[in-house]
Structure formats: C-alpha cells, structure tokens
Symmetry: D2
Subunit: 334 residues, 4 copies
C-alpha cells in the first residue's frame, strides 16, 4: 500500500546518518562488521566506510559495500573557491574509489542521471548528465582519432516512471544492452534526516541504487544483479521529508519534557513509550492532506542545485579522463 | 533583527485563515466589525468578507478592507475542466470586485508580478505577468485603432530586493510615475497555515500589499499611500513555512497528551502552558541550521504553479477586457 | 565528409515540398506511382498522399509509404480557437491513419521525442513527450484497475548523439526491447524549403525516421528494419536552413535577370547554367565561417514551439485513447 | 511604416563594422574625424575608437563618442581558459573606460539588461542582470557595514514593449528617479553584418542606447538627454538578420558575375547598377511571408548565450568592485 505508515517515519538515504543512528542504538557494543576512517582539510571532511558483513548491514540498514562521504558544512555559502576545492577533492576520491574496485582508466562508463527534470530538488541527475563531457561517439565513429587520456563516456537521463510510463531501471537496462558500457555511474538526489546535510554532503557508494532510495518514484533498482555490470551511486541530499521534520519535532519535545519532568512523572513514562504506530499516525495527521511526499527545502534550492551539479559534473570529468587535470577541474564545465 | 523569534511562529497571509484563528479565540463574543458571506457551486466556495473597523482588523490581524476568497479543494487534481471553471469564476468575482470599488471598464491597469523568477514557489507573479495580455502600447501608439471592449493594460515583474538591489515597491513607484495607470493589480505568492490551502485557494483584497507578506523579501508595501493609486492584491498560497508545520506538530501533540492524561495530570498543566518564547525557541532548534526560511512544498509544485498562474492570467484577461468572454476565458492564454 | 557540399543545397524534410519540386521537373509526364487527395475546411488543408513504387520514390526523393500533411497558414497568429481545431483535425487524421495501417485501439504505443532540449527549434519532440499522457505504468502495476477506453502509452526523449554519446536509434532500440510496445510514434522537428511552412505544417508518415532528416544529428534511423516494430513519424518544420535561403535568393536573382535580359543575352546563358558545384561553393562562401548548420528562425520561435507541441500532444492524447474526446482534446494537456 | 524597405537592408549595430563599410566608401580620403588604435594578445584584439565630430558620425552612421571593441574569433569554441581571459580583458578595458569618462570607484551604478527573456538570442541583457552582483541594498539598509572596495550596484531587466506594454526606456527612467544611480550600464544583444561576429565580439560605447538598435522592439533610447545621467552600452552581436544574409548573397553573386564577364558585358553593367529599391524589393520577396524579422543563428545559440553572458557578468563584477580581483574574475559568478 502506498499509504504505508513507514512513509511517515524518519527517512535517510545517507549511510553516514544511518551509521550514526545505529551506533547510538548499539551503544558500547558497537558495530563489529564496520570499518571506517575519516580525515579533514580545507573545510571538507572525507569519511571512507566499509560495511563488511550481513550483520553490520542489518544493524545500519544499508547494503554491504564501500561508501565515501564528503561533508562540507559551508558549501551553501556560494563561495566559488570552496566549490572548486570540493570538485577537486571529489575527483580525487572518485578516482581512488574506481581504482579500489578495479576500474582502470580504459573502462567505458555510462553516467545515468536519475530523477525528474521538472521537480527542482529531484533534478540533480539530469543536470549532471547535461554537464558531463561525453566521448563515446568519438570512440565509435573515429576511434583512431581520439586523443590519449580519454575514456569512452556516455550519459543519459532516463526520466521517472510517472512521466515515461517505464521504470527507469528498465530503460537503463535496455540502453546498457545496446551501448555495452563496463560500468554505470548513477547520480541521484537523496533525502537526509538532518537539515544541515541538504546540499552540503556527497555520497559515493558501490552498492548500486536500490528501491525506495531517492526522492522520486524509482521502484526498481540499478544493481549488478539486474544490469550485469557494476553500478556506482553518487548522491546528494537535496531535501528532508516533512515527515522527518515532524518526527524531529516530536523527539525534541520528548527531550524537552524529560528535562522538565526529570523523568519521574508517571504520565511522561506512558507518553514517552508511545507506540510507533500511534506516533506515525500523529505524523500522518500533521501532514494530511498533502501526505508523505511533502518536501522541506531551503528557498534558494534552485541555485544550490546548479552549484552542486556543477561540482559533481566537473569532478566526474576530471576523475574519468586522465587528460583532464584534477588541479583545475572546474574549467571543464560551465 | 532577522533572527526575531516571531519568524518561527505560525504564519499565514490568508485573511480567511486569520479570521478562523481569531474566531476561535473570540469564542461566543465573535468579531463585531466583520461582515462575511459565502456560497458554493461546482466544487468552488467563494467567501466575500469585509473587515470594517480597526477593532476587527486588530482582532484578525489583517487590514480594514474587502476580501474575496476562492477555495477549490480539488484544484491540484489536474482536472482541466475544473481549472476552466475556476478561471471563469475568478474572472466574474474579480470583475464584480472592480465594480464594487468603482473601477469601470475604461480605467487603465498595471499588473505587477511580485516575487522571484528563480524560486519556483515564489514565481507566481512573474509567470502571471508573462501570460497577461498587454494592450497599453496600442493605446499609446495607435489609440484610434484599438478595438472597443479593451482597456489599457500593462504588466511588469519588478524582481526582488536580493536580485535587483532596489525595493520592488520603489521600482513600481517609478514605473507608475511614468506609465500613469489608474490602478495596480499586484499578484503574489502567499504562505498559508494549512497544507490543504497550497495551490487551492485564491485571495483578492483591496488592501494593497504589506511588508512581511508573501514568501520573498518584500519589505516595503504597495499601497495607495505610497503609490497614489489603489492597489488590489491577488494571492495564492504556494507554500507553508516549515515553522508552521513544526508548530502544528506541537499543537497536535499537546492535544494528544490532553486526551491521554485527561487533563488531570499536573505535569501536563505545566507543560501545556509552555511560554511562547520557550516554544518558539524549540521550533528554532528543530529548524536550525537552515532557519526560518525553510519551505514545505508538494513534490509537484512546478506543475501546480503553471496551472494556477494560467487560471489567474486567463481570469484577469477576461475580467479586464469586455471583449474577452468570461464564458471561455481559458482560450486567451497558453 | 561533413563538409560535403550537399549540406549547402536546398533541404526539405517535407514530402509535400519534395513532391512539388519533383512535379515541376516532371512537367506533363507527371509522377505515375503517386496517389494524392486533398480537402480544406476551417483554414486547414489536409493532403493524403501515397508513394506507391520505387520509381515515384526516386523521383520525389522520399520513401514508399503513406503521408498525411496538415497545412494551416494562419497557425502562427496565436489564435487559440484555430489551435483547438487543428488539434482536433490532427487527432482525427491520426486515428484514421492508425486504422488504415491496422493499429486498433488496444495496441501499445511508445512515443519517442527526438531532438535536443537545449536547442529551441529542435525541442519539439522532447516538449511533446513532456505533455503526452502516459499510462503504461498503470497497465503494468494494476492492469485490473485501468478504465476502459485507454491504451498503454509510454514516452521517452532519448536525447541526441552529441549530448548522450549514444545514437538515439540505439537508445530507442534498447528501450523497445524492454518495454515491448507494438508501435513507435516518433516526433521530430523538421527543416522546410519554404519559410511559410515554419510552424504551420504537420506531417504524418508511416515510413519511420531516416538518417539525415530533422535538424539535429540523428545519423541512424528509426525503422521497422531496425526496431522490429513499425514507426510512424510526426514532424513539424521549425526551421529553414540558411543555405536554403541563400539558394532561394540565387534562384530569384536568376529569374530577375531572365526578365531583364529577355533571355537573349549570351552571358546570362552561360551564367544561368552555372555548375551545381560552383553554385554550392558560392553558398558555402556566403555562410562561412559558421557553416551549413545555420538556422533561420522567426524571432518568436519559443512561443511557436510551445503552441505546436501542445497541439500535437493534445491531438495524440485524443487519438490514442478512445476515452478522450476528439471534440475537446485541448483540455487534456496544459 | 513597419514595411519600410530599409528593414530589408544590411543591418549592423557594431561601430567597427560600420567604420569598415564607411572606410571602403571613403577610399583614400579616409574619415578625418575618427581616431582609432588597436592591439592584440592571447587571441583577443582590442580596438579603441573615437568618433570625434558630426561629419565622421554621418560618414560612419554612428554617434559621436568612445567605442571599445573586443574581437575574439575563437570565443565560440567553448574553451573556458580563453573565456576567463576575455572576462579579465573585458574587466580591465571596462574599468579604463569608466576612468576615461570620469567615473571613479564610488559612483553608483544601475545595470539595465535590455531584451526579452523568452527569445533566446535577445536574452543577453536579462541573463547578465541575473548574474551581476548587486550591493545597493546593503548600502541602503546597513551602510556602515559594507566592506571597503565595493560600490553600490543595482540591476533590472525592464522587459520589452511587446510584453510589458511600456517602453523599456520609460521603465528605466522611472527606476532611475527612485534609485538615483550615478550611471547606467545597459547590456543588449546586437545584430551584426558578418556571421563571424556572432558571439565573438563585445562592444562598449558611451553613446547610450538608440532607437532601432538591438534585435528587439526598443523604440525609445536610453541616453543622457532622456535619463539625466550617462549611459554606457555593452553589446554583443547574437544574430545576423536574414535580410543581411540575402544581401550578402547578392553581393557575392555580383562579384562572381564580374569575374565571369570581365566587366565588359553590357548586360552586367545594367544589372550591376540595379536600383537600391529594386534590390530591397528582391530581398523582401525572398523573405516573405515571414518578413524582415527573421534571424539567422547557429544551432548552439543557447549555450553561446550562457557563456558570453557569464563573461560579461564576471567582467562587470570585477570592473565595478575594487575588492574583486581582475586576475580571477570568473570565480565570482556561476
């Protein structure tokens, strides 16, 4: 059912946020099958993470695989120098990521921009596709004349089920069968739990794209099982669901009440243990009649989308083509 | 200060919502200086309202003046037949409104589209301006050749302070001095308290546009005092502020707690009386770091904006020009 | 070679124009393998044409097949009543066309919008796709609940080689393999010989889309041979190539000279017989340095594109779904 | 009359092209009241020109005043490094131009973007306005807190007569009366004679904007006489009129004939001296029915517009604010 109450729960597509939530629950026992490292420079924090086994995957609620997350709290300030640094860092991390999973500079790539052109916060994928440098046609039509240092890159924006009538996963599958790339890179807008993630965080993962992720109607996944080739996902949280805000509000009120009642009041006890279902029912009530699909966005979302899409397109261009310098990636798109 | 806590309160630009809130507070005493009448047909409810004196204005928190509100709960369904009916009803009500305040068919009009082109839910005014039929140039350049049944209409979208560096009110004032219209019609996107108002409600008011209304940064008003000519405002709620959702959540939780504690619990009493400041502080905390400017919008906002702007532009074209038939207004824009 | 001089010749994608040119050359002998009929009403002329054999195809320079052409000289006037009539006529003709080639109301359809979103006069296909009603997802996800009178329709805009790196024909082939439609309807912007055809003519043909047609870089065709299913092309001339204008100028000058020299002057004889190559060389020289890809467009092309795309999308919606009334097709898109 | 044959003649808004045409007619006598100097570096040629007296103005067909022209033949190649160099050169030349006419770094500026948003090649002005850094609001609202090195800049796009019903000149006049800038900078799309000028040439002039310039319907000028303050025009040719192409074709054919007849043939003599009126009548015939407003544009015009608008906006930001470094201007817009 579409009116599944789970749609009214806190929703995050970020492995980092999911890990933090899981770590809190796990307490001192921790999450054994999880490896993680982190470093910071120039206002950019890079966290590399591996979910190694099924148990860790279950605990965190994300797939087994590698995740790299860039966090740049000041990214929304419109500082173009910082944006250039983020593009460069992203390019380096992405190149390293490709190498780590064994994809050398000759492997051909299909960039897939998921999402809906006509819904601003969902348009990340299509905008990136519009700015990625495609080269496959030269490899097909005049292979002898391609300069060294370039690989074959193609790029498509398959649209969403509601506007094409076809699952984007099916469209990609059909195109893969024709264009025969070695690797898919799928770019998608994500939902975060926390407002400060919106357009400040970039996630890279080798787990493909899974049903229910993203903010559009993408019911079928883009995975190696389905496509026959690996799929790396690049995602940026561009929205928080209104339901998440409402849940956050409730949490904060519970905390607030705790402080005021010193946790001794019998009523609070009863209330604090409010059933999950009852709680989600309340969330649903707040959000009716427009329902679970309400998005919370900053007013300047249009400008943010353009900036972050440029960072990712520039970074991809530099990471995918050796001839493009990671030292000055921003110059290669507009 | 911009970080005024009042920005975290429930915010509505609709006189109808303000009246309902005031009526609830007033209880049985009611609001003496308020006149109101209402009729419904074809899924459209029209409410005509007059705030007659200062006391009513203070009670409701809206200016003395005439208000007409169209409520069309199904307007977001994409039913084009209903949209045509709404355009026709809007045209009739607007024409009657003009007559009521003494503006006959020869008076010249300047349509002002307030708001920011680049912020989807704030773009209502600019899109309407783009679709309104302008005729003033014919009256200026070849007055003898204008067919009967048309009046002089001009239209501008003055932009917002953040992108022009000039108050839109100042820009309009300058244009009025040059173009010398008899009347301003200002179209603006509004904020509502209730989610079900988003793109389903149209408000007409003869009170002009006042500081703090709308969802953009419009600090100075468009009023007869400033412009020297009357200003009719047409507004449609296109967003709810995230702060409103958070406040709604808190209200609902209080109610929920009331039921569960049967109002006898002493803690609830204390909590229920939470200070306004404390409450808004909580709201602020939920919405940090992105702050009070967060908007809640349905995912399909782009499409809704186009539809509602078409309704208003079509309706205006029919209401302003006798030669354009209110029976088939939709045909005159695209 | 891309710098093939033939790119500097008069170019038309319209069978009607090609027929007229061929008929002129043929003189009294005519074109035996050509059937044609024509009727006019309400300012709309419909011409149905069949190229029946190879010889006629060679003479005209267009494929064997059925062609229907709507000519509406006043279509650029912005008269919405006329636009509605054209949409209705188009819907009727298209429905009849489908029946004539044996495609009943149950056959599933994939609408393909060829061309480039980012090039205004080439964006016809993508805009139509954006406004076509898609239903395939309902047939897939809840076949029991689809109302009678609808057929399965899906729609994609595959982009162009220069921006995807993949032939649009290959992309469509891949999608056909997955979505398994019974029929392709390909919508494309065309080039005309005559300026008065721009956005006033609509062509329907059952010959598919062939290399070199259209105004974009579409090198591979959409034909039954390639796709395994039939492909109906819908095209509208949105541009004239600058080379065509230059050639037209030369023709007019020759004619003018003829009149002035009464065809007796020996020089004219020599000049009038100017070699084709020499002539195209002159055209090339006029158009250098920007070359053969220069387009001649009216200033208001953006508005025309929107209007004509709406007509085709509305017409398609009515023609494809029995439940949608051809009497009022315009209401079903926006 | 709108059907004035002069609309069918060669049309250029570039003083440099007008000078070249005049110089050719003048022959060895030259143009006495004209001063000119030129230098080239990095693929950019800068020509500084002064039309000093009425006679030179009449000979050239342009106003008395200062002109600076940047010619960058490779600017359409999409080379972002070259684009950055052009932005820097433009910034330096513009700053020098301001100094030469006595406008120091404290003078306030209103940037006016002429032209029509909805007509791609006419949208230069509005796009530049969208990317210019505006600061006037800070000077108005918190003058004490503005960092040194900035001046007061505001920016408006007044639209065109056909969509507002008001002359853009009147709108600007009204805004000037309110915002009280010291100087107007008007950005406008121009028409060139030569195709290789399209989006490769930038003109700066202190003569204001005059009726008949540009490609839109701007009938009234922006001049010191009308506005009371000086107006610097920045223009880029984005189109060639189709009539110009047709005239060019005729010229080339005459030349071609000359070569073939060795100028001895009596017929050619007669024909070569074809009356101006007769000639324009021929041009008109070629271009009917769409008339004199046909534009010739390269297919990629949308992308070119964005690139050149970015160059001008970046250059203006650096030239207008001392705090913004001309060494790296591109970083300050997006």
């Amino acid at each position: 059912m579409e009116l599944d109450l789970s749609m009214y729960n806190v929703r995050t597509d970020l492995a980092l946020e999911a890990r933090d939530i899981a770590a809190q629950s796990a307490g001192e026992t921790g999450i054994p099958g999880l490896w993680t490292e982190s470093d910071s420079a120039d206002g950019i924090t890079v966290t590399r993470m591996e979910i190694k086994d099924d148990q860790a995957a279950r605990q965190i609620g994300k797939m087994i695989g590698h995740y790299v997350t860039l966090e740049v709290p000041d990214l929304r300030q419109g500082d173009t120098e910082l944006q250039d640094k983020v593009a460069t860092t992203f390019a380096k991390e992405f190149e390293a990521f490709l190498n780590r999973i064994g994809f050398g500079p000759k492997k051909s790539v299909l960039v897939v921009g998921l999402g809906n052109w006509n819904v601003t916060p969902d348009a990340l994928g299509p905008i990136v596709v519009d700015n990625v440098m495609v080269t496959r046609q030269f490899f097909e039509l005049m292979p002898d004349q391609v300069s060294p240092g370039y690989r074959s890159v193609s790029a498509v924006a398959p649209g969403v089920l509601g506007t094409t009538g076809i699952e984007s996963s099916d469209i990609v599958q059909g195109i893969v069968a024709q264009a025969k790339p070695d690797l898919i890179i799928a770019v998608d807008a994500l939902a975060a739990k926390s407002l400060d993630r919106v357009n400040t965080t970039i996630q890279i993962a080798d787990t493909g794209i899974h049903p229910g992720s993203g903010i559009g109607n993408k019911r079928k996944g883009l995975t190696k099982d389905i496509l026959g080739i690996p799929c790396i996902g690049i995602g940026v949280p561009t929205v928080v669901y209104a339901s998440t805000i409402v849940n956050n509000t409730m949490d904060l009120m519970f905390e607030h009440m705790k402080k005021h009642t010193e946790n001794t009041d019998p009523m609070f006890g009863a209330f604090g243990k409010m059933e999950e279902t009852e709680r989600l029912q309340l969330v649903k009530e707040v959000l009716s009649p427009l329902g679970h699909d309400l998005l919370v966005t900053p007013k300047d979302i249009d400008k943010f989308m353009e900036d972050i899409a440029n960072i990712i397109a520039s970074g991809l261009n530099a990471a995918l083509h050796e001839a493009i310098d990671t030292g000055n990636v921003a110059a290669y798109t507009h």
